[in-house]
Symmetry: C2
Subunit: 271 residues, 2 copies
């Protein structure tokens, strides 16, 4: 296959998941993946040593709203199976973050030099999938209209721990018109691999969020009169939890720079 020379966002948006991964692997796309490969599942990445893998997978199983498992790799293998045949976790993400003992060490666009025979890759669902579905269903997304990223908050809700992995759930928040809240619940319920239904509607106080203006990640909230804050489990949770456990090495995607799979989002919805 000829790798396209162009990497403008408009042209990238016309490429298939496989073509996009090739462009990304070639080093000619190092920015966030929103608006790319619409209709296909994108995923968060966490890579950990095999000795931490069972505890981390147990953690994800126990906290499937913020940590839906899309794929678990074989120890030592940078491939990800049928969700993206031919893909290579070491090169196919635009930008990575490498942590040693919980401290960030590097932000490379290729992690081939960090790869080891005992590393295990985890792909976890992300919210890009359900945002598309919400728009298709006529639910407006204020942060997209404003060209910003949805605000994210660390709540006071403890995840169920597993071994060394523990921490509070992080949620993403979208302001939804009150009459469309039921539809937003219905639509996102159909995408369990993209965090599924909201975990909370209204009452930020109950999640330990005293001021919606004090965001922990992402941008300031954008609201219209009559909007209600709706909260979903957020894929930042497993990254923070994994990092807090201070594993000897951990590699994650750079925020917004997701792994693009070959799986149609709608397959998730139909399972």
């Amino acid at each position: 296959m000829t790798i396209p020379e162009v990497v403008s966002r408009d042209e990238a948006a016309t490429l298939s998941p496989r073509e996009l991964r090739e462009v990304i692997a070639s080093g000619r796309w190092t920015t966030p993946t929103w608006s790319l490969a619409l209709g296909y599942l994108q995923a968060n990445l966490v890579i950990l040593p095999e000795k931490d893998a069972f505890e981390f997978l147990t953690f994800c199983t126990r906290n499937s709203k913020p940590c839906p498992i899309v794929e678990v790799g074989e120890p030592g293998s940078p491939t990800v199976g049928p969700v993206a045949p031919g893909a290579d976790l070491r090169t196919d993400i635009p930008k990575y973050r490498v942590f040693r003992d919980g401290e960030q060490e590097d932000e490379p666009t290729d992690i081939t030099s960090y790869w080891r025979d005992d590393l295990v890759g985890f792909l976890l669902g992300c919210s890009l999938t359900f945002e598309e579905a919400l728009l298709d269903a006529g639910v407006p997304l204020r942060h997209l209209e404003a060209g910003t990223i949805a605000p994210m908050y660390e709540t006071d809700r403890a995840c169920r721990p597993a071994g060394k992995f523990s921490g509070n759930m992080v949620v993403s928040m979208r302001m939804i018109p009150a009459d469309l809240v039921p539809r937003a619940v219905q639509v996102t319920s159909r995408y369990p691999l993209a965090h599924g239904a909201p975990v909370h509607v209204g009452s930020p106080d109950e999640l330990g969020i005293r001021d919606l203006g004090e965001v922990d990640f992402g941008d300031q909230p954008v609201a219209e009169p009559g909007d209600v804050p709706v909260f979903w489990g957020c894929g930042v949770t497993p990254q923070i939890v994994a990092r807090s456990a201070r594993p000897e090495i951990m590699i994650a995607h750079y925020p917004g720079c997701m792994f693009i799979t070959d799986r149609r989002s709608e397959i998730d919805a139909a399972l």
Copy 2:
């Protein structure tokens, strides 16, 4: 709490999950758990050494239709967390099977003497939950009317392997009136922890099943004119796969003798 002295099926059917587990732990109920604790999730049990736990959990993650994960225990702990507070995996199942290197060694009603600090318990979803839901939705179940167990077949569909764990998917089959097949799909789709939607409707040949009369597990099929065979992923799959891997030790529930949780089945449906 006073443990009831009675153990007739009619009286047992009036007990709560916690009360039932206490009766079972006392040794006064050693038979299958169908008809008990209606409305509550029941689960298959697989216990394996910690060294096999990551591979087995990865296998279940990759094959969630036959192997839906209800709970993963901590290594060495016979408890199962919030799905059944106070429960003990060593005593709270009516009857067990113990395998050494894949060969059955014992069929005890208590596995306390087999427990070790490195054992990990896995609870996997079972079909009792969705059978209740089908009946509630007006879908007749021929095998129940005939007082038999649904037939199960080993298919020629390979599960996605994980390390030493591999094998073909086992399915359970129910003959459903043709006009109720859509409803059967809709109803069971709502219970992903109980195998979810069917994996196949009609055409047993396509699953490698040449003769529905040649059942691998369970009883002969029961059909009425106009019925269509509908196939669901079956919880026998993980047991066969685990046993085939010949782990040094593996403990499972005795067929039909399930673990009864405190979780309402409908909570699964709403997730």
